[in-house]
Subunit: 382 residues, 2 copies
């Protein structure tokens, strides 16, 4: 269990398998985010059909509502939301730290107020692991502290605390059927990042995540951080770049040796009427689509593109029919999952490096971010 | 085309086939309402899977948005919304008359203001037919005037106008591939209803609808009106009871010789967290369902009941996840379609009359209406 096997590699890009109690994951992969035990507006049958393999859910949200003990009593997260394939939960740390107005950090843990009812709660590394054991995902995450990447002094403090907490998470873990991943922090400072990568890699985590990226740093800083960190990580464990990506980020991440990605972007964009396409990002509310009989993307094999025209999707948006959110989510999730799957195939047949410039050109019009909030910071539209 | 064949009958209940350009309809049937060229929150694939045969859409709404000419240019309603099975459009009359504050009726037609932007428009019988020919449904409806059932003087005026307009609709019709149904009016007055049934039956309509019910009259008045009207209608044409039903209404309607029903109730209830069940109507927001591992209805074969627990559905509702609306809509539509299908089977095997008391007892807890607005009067939540 939790073996990572490399099937093929090209440059730093790797194609592999990661075994979990709910099946083998083919990596690299893109994981849809199901914040509150559901990928917003998409049924588990639709998720399966669009090719999702790993689904992420959020510890902070599920702890508050419906409560991790209720989820455990219902048979765990897989059974509760009826997702028979692998799942991952985050530690809750990122969400708690994003509650900047109401949280208090000390070396033991974090005290915060619920965004739902203002009630006071406390997370510690041990508490995060206990909640994640109740939720029962295949992959669980260490409780870490994400810093402002440009604040060097704070990045150092947060990194050191992340390291102490990583050891406490390992000590607290009891279930044998969950893989606990450690998290590398250190902002965009090369020395801190290198120290963090080496420290986290020295601990017995079956997988390693890179946190603290896509939180306000530049693209160049993200790339140079990945260029520094992935060579310091062991080859035989999967690497997870948290809360990333745009199509461009996925291409650049895989080229730098990343195996797992997650991001709320595809479903959030869908709820704002925006879709990924090989023509660039489109906003389907635009009047130019009113009579357009084409699918979103002629090459796309998702249910939405195989079935509906841009004119119909625009009508749903203009008429405020919520079905638009479902259909656009299906397309955007499929687009990223399919792009990553294509890259995996090209690593296997040794054409990856040749195709990278083509993919970057094809998807570049989708690269701009709507906001730095790609991780699922707590908002009313998260 | 548009032949109605009786396969079996018991008492006044009939099981039959109605042939249309998009396939044979097995009657009796319940038609989901897709007001704006979509059944709210349900994909056409999900509609197909839950067993829908005929889908209704609204002329008033589609005329305003996206416009009937745009729908025609996109290949008609079937092609636009990708529903390959039979469709029905109403005449727009009911919606226009429900705009009580802003409409002006004269003998030629009705002038009204759009609920979207306040712009002024005019429907006449000829205009309604022209719009419905642009939309291209298999079954289209005559432009009628629905009166307050308890206002005898107005019911007489509205009925007489409905009769004159019925003849104008027949004269205006040009397409040969659409069945135009006439509509019986007359409020709850037996003389008016009998006169209207005889007049409409005398015209060459391939099907006949009963309008002006489920608009504020009592259940007894609805039943006695059906008892009076259906025996006056020709056996060899389908009968459509517009804007009805609750489960109880479907049972009582079929027992009185009705073949086709439509109603916004199942999808509207779903968006208010309410579901039909053999235990009676349930509101899944209720805290008693927080730990309930059962499906909505143990006997139900819909995707929602075959997949999810009440505890999970309640979590989605409490967490304001829109997926709840989709899953509850699937269940409620399936429940009514399946109930009508069961009744059809029992007419064929001659057990219908014996089973009516059982069905009425089983479904009685679902009978109360949330409001008299089961037709899709224009509201923000329609």
């Amino acid at each position: 269990m939790f073996d990572y096997k490399i099937l093929a590699s090209q440059g730093r890009a790797r194609a592999g398998f990661f075994s979990t109690p709910h099946g083998d994951l083919e990596t690299p992969l893109f994981a849809p985010v199901g914040t509150q035990a559901t990928v917003k507006m998409v049924t588990s049958a639709q998720l399966d059909e669009l090719g999702a393999s790993l689904v992420l859910s959020n510890t902070y949200h599920l702890y508050l509502r419906p409560g991790d003990e209720l989820v455990a009593e219902q048979g765990g997260l897989h059974e509760f939301m009826r997702w028979p394939h692998p799942m991952l939960t985050d530690s809750g740390g990122f969400q708690v730290f994003s509650l900047a107005q109401t949280r208090r950090i000390d070396d033991e843990g974090v005290t915060f107020k619920s965004h739902i009812d203002g009630s006071t709660h406390r997370f510690t590394p041990e508490k995060s692991i206990q909640i994640q054991e109740n939720l029962g995902a295949d992959i669980i995450m260490a409780f870490d502290e994400c810093s402002d990447p440009n604040d060097h002094a704070y990045s150092k403090i947060a990194m050191e605390r992340t390291h102490r907490w990583a050891e406490r998470c390992l000590a607290a873990k009891q279930r044998g059927d969950q893989a606990l991943f450690g998290i590398v922090q250190g902002g965009v400072n090369p020395e801190l990042r290198a120290a963090s990568a080496q420290f986290i890699a020295s601990l017995p985590f079956p997988g390693i995540a890179i946190g603290g990226l896509s939180v306000g740093e530049t693209k160049d800083e993200m790339h140079s951080t990945l260029d520094l960190v992935t060579p310091l990580l062991p080859e035989n464990r999967p690497r997870y770049l948290m809360g990333v990506g745009t199509p461009e980020d996925l291409i650049n991440g895989i080229a730098r040796g990343i195996d797992i990605f997650d991001c709320v972007l595809p479903t959030r964009l869908a709820r704002h009427n925006a879709v990924f396409s090989s023509e660039g990002r489109l906003n389907l509310m635009n009047a130019i689509f009113a009579h357009d009989k084409r699918p979103i993307d002629a090459a796309c094999t998702c249910y939405t593109c195989q079935t509906f025209t841009r004119a119909y999707l625009r009508h749903l948006i203009v008429a405020r029919e919520l079905l638009a959110g479902t259909l656009l989510s299906i397309h955007n999730l499929h687009a990223l999952i399919q792009l990553v799957r294509e890259m995996r195939g090209s690593i296997v047949d040794n054409t990856f490096e040749k195709k990278v410039p083509f993919w970057l050109a094809q998807w570049q019009g989708n690269a701009e971010r709507i906001s730095p909030n790609t991780h699922g910071i707590i908002t009313t539209t998260s």
